[in-house]
Amino acid sequence: MSAEIENPVLEIHDLTVTYSKKPVLWDVDMTIPKGSLAGIIGPNGAGKSTLIKSIMGLVPIASGYIKIFDKDLKEVRKNVSYVPQRGSVDWDFPASVVDVVMMGRYGHLGFFNYPKKADKEVALDALRKVGMDAYKNRQISELSGGQQQRVFLARAIAQQADIYFMDEPFAGVDAATERAIISLLKELADKGKTIVVVHHDLQTAPNYFDWMVLLNTRLVAHGPTQEVFNDENLKETYGGKLTLLSEISKLLENKRFPAREAK
């Protein structure tokens, strides 16, 4: 069950990604329309983060292609914003809040250019939007989980992009931060920006997103939330049994490296 749309801002065709011969994403075909707030939903190990990482060119793809605004990522990098998982960096790093948000401007600066006054304004404005302007000179080691996530979001906003990819922005944040983030994302979507969010909480998902991608290694369904978020699709996404494909590859993997833990 798939929706075909005209002029998508994100188009993925036949995408397959493997980690040491084991498929993490298998033959994913999907599109996302402009201005949508899209959720990528699926169980642990479904390849949700890998999907975002392959869009951002961070993992090698085995086959298929990805087009953003009908172009390769390389040509539209300045228009694409990325929020990695909060746990992917060392928060004891000696940097201040504004240092981190300023990184969102680096892509626009180019080599050997230091941030200018205008860049600083953009960074401070982004901090205001996430309600963290009072913390701009704090060291990042002093922040709570929710505040760390807001800083990451501010950095993405400082990129002033048209499409945002966010990896688990609601993981481990307090309720107030979750509300603040979702209302900000809705505001961005209303302005015509496209937002793609990896999310694992089924309870909140239908309220947050107007477009959904249900994923479990293979694409189960994608389309407007009211059309695809139903029992049948969810059962297929989360269903008790592993798909035959991942079962076979797991067997192969175990046989080849019997003493090793699968990553």
Partner: protein, 292 residues
């Protein structure tokens, strides 16, 4: 005059190593300096055997190439061999160092290139090896020029690449998402570490190079949580280490390199105990004995 020259040389080595060390410890790659300072040996020996001279520029280039080659093998074993990074470092540099030792003992036994001078160096000889021009003017110790040049190179590298180094160190995934090559900056940094290591260990020996690469930066890390302050503090700590190390050596009439290493360890211990933020004594006084 000799005391001044030795302290100056020691300080320049400490500053050069320390600045790079700040990036290394934040990248959790502190031991890469250890690896490079040993594994460049075969490169130097081969360069010497091929060229037949101990020309410093040639040595630097050969060492830089070997150093980058070392980090390349470490990366390769880590990524494609799925070996842990510390294990890859251990396997790589011991093997390369051993090749260097064999080459020296087999082909270069009679010449002035022995394992002692490589491992321990001798900073006390710095003032003896002067650069004298054709017309006989004494321009001061040759070593000073070499390490001075390398220091300028490192400062230039950090100034032009500050954003890229800062970002690829803090968040490599975000860096490559916005089009900054993490691999390129990794290898550029490793080239700098290789050049610095080789220029320094001829002067002060491999052990002090490793101490200077890690200890001042680690001490500064405990004292501040601002990166620029950390770089600045590292420079100051390096100079203090070199200065007090020299006088400690004079007092006990012992090895200068050894004394400097000891001082760098002492300063780290002081920061560990009394740092206003992280020091365990300060924490105990502030929060009582219940908390860690």
């Amino acid at each position: 005059m000799n005391a001044f020259l030795i302290i100056l040389t020691g300080s320049l080595v400490a500053i050069t190593c320390g600045l790079l060390g700040c990036f290394l410890i934040l990248r959790k790659m502190a031991m890469i300096g250890d690896a490079i300072s040993h594994s460049v040996l075969p490169g130097i020996v081969i360069a010497y055997l091929v060229a037949g001279s101990r020309d410093s520029t040639l040595m630097l280039i050969a060492a830089a190439i070997t150093g980058v080659f070392t980090t390349f093998i470490i990366e390769f074993l880590n990524k494609h061999g799925r070996l842990q990074s510390d294990a890859s470092i251990g396997v790589t540099f011991t093997w390369l160092f051993a090749i260097g030792v064999i080459l020296i003992s087999a082909y270069a036994g009679q010449v002035d290139l022995d394992q002692d001078c490589v491992l321990y160096g001798e900073i006390a000889y710095v003032p003896l090896d002067s650069w004298i021009t054709g017309s006989g003017i004494n321009l001061g110790p040759r070593a000073l020029y070499i390490i001075g040049f390398v220091l300028l190179l490192v400062i230039f590298f950090i100034v032009i690449g500050y954003k890229e180094l800062f970002l690829t160190t803090f968040d490599p995934a975000f860096a490559s998402a916005i089009g900054i090559s993490v691999t390129l900056w990794h290898y550029l940094l490793m080239t700098m570490v290789s050049i610095t290591t080789v220029a320094s260990f001829e002067l002060v020996g491999a052990i002090l190079v490793i101490a200077f690469l890690i200890a001042p930066a680690a001490t500064a890390y405990l004292l501040t949580d601002k990166f620029k302050t950390m770089l600045f503090l590292t420079v100051i700590i390096g100079v203090i280490t070199s200065f007090s190390g020299y006088y400690l050596a004079e007092w006990i009439n012992g090895s200068i390199s050894g004394a400097m290493s000891v001082i760098s360890g002492l300063l780290f211990a002081l920061a560990f105990l009394f740092s206003p933020k992280e020091g365990i004594v300060v924490k105990r006084v502030k929060y009582g004995f219940k908390t860690n």
